[in-house]
Symmetry: D2
Subunit: 259 residues, 4 copies
C-alpha cells in the first residue's frame, strides 16, 4: 500500500515498550529527545519499517509504521476519550465503509474522525461539525498527521443549528446533547441510513433513545463494551489487574422511510 | 452509494422486530413465507428502502437495506460464532482499511471474511484459506449475497502448509491451531505488518503468544471484549438480564523487521 | 455442628449433576420421583451425608447436606431473583453477623431472609416486612425447611407505613420503592447502623441515593456485581458462554449520629 | 449488640470522605495526626458513634463504628489483596455460619481470617495455618483490633505438611499451591464439607480443579467476580471510570462420602 522504507516527512511510532511509544515526524538532521536519551532521525531514514534504532544512551527503539489505532490513541487529548474499542464498534454499527458519506458531530480532537476517514476513503467523505475552533485546529493537525485530512470536511459550526448535508449514509454523534441533533439527522440521512451516538451517562442515553423513537428511527439498540487485557504467560496467565470500567454507551438506530 | 429503490435481485432485511428479521433476495412474482404470513416481493419492488410492507395476515415488516452487521449475523452458521463486536475489534487491531491486502485463515462460513472484504474494497484483497470445501461453498454464497465476493480469493488449502502470498498488510487467524501458522505469517507479512488471532480458550492464547514472541513479533497483546445490552426506557433503565459471557480472546502483534 | 447421618425429617439435596439437583425432605416409607426414575427414602436413612443412592432405573444420586446457597437457590420462586452473589455482598456490606438485629423489607419468598437468619443466629434476629400474605407463607415454608424460622419475625405489614423496631444494626431493602423507607430506616437504626438496598433499575438507585443523602446517611456507595463461571479443563479452559448480565445494583450507606 | 458511646480502647473509623478514612484506637489524653490536622481523642470519648469531631485545623471527621468490611480493608497489607467482594463470596460458597469449624490456609495478614472469625463466632472456630511468622504477627494484631482473636487458632505451620484438625465444616485455601493441600483437606473435612480456593492465575485453578476431581470432591465450580462502582447523581449517573479487573478465581467443591 505504501513505501516500506522510512523517508523524510513520514510519521513513525518509536516503540520502547508497550507503555512507552512516541509518534514523531521524521526530519532530516534533527533529533528526538526521550526520557531514555535522544534519537537521530538520520539513522532512521532509508531503513525498513520495523527496524531498531538505538538512543545515544543505548536504549533500543523500534521504528514502527503507525496503525489507525496508534493515530487514534495519540490524537486523544483534552476531550473525553473515545477508546479504540468504542470507535471500532461505532464504525461497525454504523455500517459505513469505503465510499460512505458520513456526518460526525462533534469533531473534538479528531480521534473518531480519523477512524471514519480511514474507513470511507478513497471515495467517501466525512463532514465533521465542531463549534469550538481550537478543537478543530487540533483535529486538523491530527488528521494531517494520519494523512487523512483530504477525506474530511471540517466545519466550524454548531450542529444543533442543523445539518447541511443530505442523503448521507450515517450520522455519528459524540457530543453532550445528542438528542438535540436527532431531528436534523433524520432529514440528513438517506432511507435506512444509520445513526450512532456515544454518551457517557445514562441520562444522555435515555434522552437520545426517546428522541430516536419519536423521530422516525427504528431498531434502536444501546450497548456498552468492556475490554479487559490478559496477561499471557505460561503458568502465570490471568486477566490484568486494572481496567477501564466505563467509557460510554453506544446507541444505534436506523431511519425508517416515513416517520 | 447505491440505489435507494428496491429492485429485483436486491437483498433486503425484512424487519418485524429486533428479534425477528429475515435477509431475503427480492424475486419478481414470488412470495416469502414467515411465521406471520407471507409477503409478495412485487409489493416491495420500486419502493424506497425503509418502507413498510404488510404480510397477507396483516403484520407489518420494514424492508431495510442490509448493513455489514446484518450480513455477518446472517452468515453465521455451523461454525463457532465470531460476533460483530469481535470482528469490529479484529479489524481495528489489524489496522487494515481500503486498499489493504489481507490473509485470513480459516474462512469458516465467511462472517469475518465478509467484514474484511467490506473494509478493504475497492482496491484491497482478502486471501482466505479453508481446507474444508463445504465451508468454502457456504462462505462464497454469503459473500455473493453481500456483494463482496469480487474482493476475496477463496483458497481451498490448508494454511498450516504455508501462506502463498507475500508483502501482505495483515494476517488474521481464526482457526483451532493459530500457533502453527505464526512462522509462515511472519514470512507473508510486510515489515510492521500485523497479525490478529481469535481463540476461545486460554490454552490456545498461551501457545499463540509464545509462538509470536519466538518468531519475530513484538507489541503482543491479548484482550477480551464483553458487550452488554442496555434496556433503555425512562424509569426502567437497566442492563439486560442475559449476555454472552465469552466468545474468544483477541491477540495482536506486529512484525519486527529482523527476527 | 449437626448429625452426620441422614435421619427422617432431614432435608437432603439429591445431586445428579450440577444442573439437576432436588431439595427434598426425607420421609420413611416414601419415594421421590425424578426424571431419572424414583428413589426410596428408606435407602437414605442411616447413611452418611455425601453417600450415593441409585434410582430404580440405575441413575446415581449423591445425598448432600444442603448449604445456605442451596436453600437460597431453591427458595427462589415467583419473585425477582436475588442471586447468592448479591446476597453475599449485601450481607458483607451490611456488616451484620451473629447477634445482629436486622430489619428486612420485603420478604418476598425468603431467599435473602434465609441468608440474614443464617448469619445472625443464634442470638440475633431478623424482622422481615411483607404486605403480600401469600409471599409470607412461602417464605415461612422456606425458612422452616432451612431450619431458620426461629430467628425471624415475619411481619405481614407495609413497611412504607413505618418500621416498628428501633436500635437495629441494619436495614436491608429489597422492594420496588426503597426511597420511601429511608426516613423510617434512619429512625430504626442505631448510630452508625447500615442500610443496604437492592434494586434492578438505575432510576430506583438514583431516587434511593437522593433519599439517603437527604436523610442523614453518609458514605453512600452503589455497586453492581458480575459473576462469570469458568469452564476449567486442561487444554480447554475458558469462561462460560452465557452469564447473567444483570440482577441489580447494591446501594450502601451508614447512619450519621445527627442529621 | 455493643455499647453506643465511644469509650477508651475502642477502635473507631475516622471518616473524612470516602477516600480518606483512618482506623484508630481511642486513647485518653492522646491525639491523632492526619494530613488535615490532629484530633484529640478526649473529644471523642463519651460521644455517640456517628458523631462529628473537628481537627485543630477545622476539618470535620465522623467517628464511625468499624464494620467487618472496614477491618478487612485496613488489614490488607503486604500480601495479595483479597477484596471484600471475594471474601463475601468465599464465605457464601463455603456455607459456613455461626458455630462452624473452619480451616484456613494461609493466614496472610488476616483479612479473610477476620471475616471467617466474624461469621463463625461465638461458638465456631477458625484454624488458620501460616508458615511465615511475621505474617502471623500482623494477622494477630489485626484480629485483636477487630476483637475476633478469641475465635481463631493461629498456627505457625506449613499446611502442605498436613492438616491436624478433623471433622471440620470447611477448608478455605488462599495460598500459592492449593492443589497440594487438597488430599489433606479431604481427610480433615466431614462428609459434604466444603472446600473453597482463591487463586489469581488460571494455571493454579486448573491444577486445583484437577486435584479436587481426583480426590473425592464433587460439584466443582469456578467463578470470578467483577464489582463495578456506580457514580449516582441525577443527570450524571454512569459507571465509574476505573475498576479492578481481576483479583482472583474462586473454586468451590464438596466432599463426597467415599472417594
Amino acid at each position: 500500500m505504501s513505501s516500506q522504507k522510512i523517508t523524510e516527512g513520514d510519521h513513525v511510532l518509536l516503540y520502547l515498550n508497550q507503555r512507552k511509544t512516541y509518534l514523531v515526524k521524521v526530519e532530516a538532521g534533527k533529533t528526538f529527545h526521550t526520557h531514555k536519551g535522544f534519537i537521530k532521525f538520520d539513522e532512521l531514514i532509508g531503513k525498513e519499517y520495523g527496524s531498531t534504532v538505538a538512543s545515544n544512551t543505548g536504549f533500543e527503539f523500534i521504528a514502527l509504521k503507525p496503525l489507525l489505532r496508534d493515530y487514534i490513541m495519540k490524537a486523544v487529548r483534552r476531550t473525553q476519550i473515545t477508546y479504540p474499542k468504542d470507535i471500532a464498534l461505532i464504525v461497525m454499527f454504523s455500517g459505513i465503509g469505503p465510499g460512505s458519506r458520513v456526518v460526525e458531530a462533534g469533531t473534538g480532537t479528531g480521534a473518531l474522525t480519523t477512524a471514519l476517514a480511514h474507513y470511507v476513503k478513497p471515495n467517501g467523505r466525512v463532514y465533521s461539525y465542531e463549534f469550538r475552533e481550537e478543537f478543530l485546529k487540533t483535529a486538523e493537525k491530527n488528521l494531517k498527521r494520519a494523512n487523512l485530512v483530504d477525506f474530511v470536511e471540517l466545519k466550524n459550526k454548531d450542529v444543533t443549528a442543523g445539518i447541511e448535508e443530505s442523503e448521507v449514509d450515517a450520522v455519528i454523534l459524540d457530543l453532550a446533547t445528542p438528542w438535540l441533533v436527532v431531528p436534523s439527522a433524520y432529514k440528513a440521512l438517506k432511507p435506512c441510513g444509520t445513526i450512532v451516538s456515544f454518551s457517557p451517562t445514562i441520562d444522555q442515553v435515555v434522552k437520545t433513545v426517546e428522541a430516536l423513537n419519536a423521530n422516525g428511527f427504528i431498531d434502536t439498540e444501546t450497548v456498552e463494551c468492556l475490554m479487559r487485557g490478559m496477561q499471557t504467560e505460561r503458568g502465570k496467565t490471568r486477566p490484568q489487574t486494572l481496567m477501564t470500567a466505563h467509557t460510554g454507551y453506544i446507541t444505534f438506530a436506523r431511519k425508517k422511510a416515513v416517520k
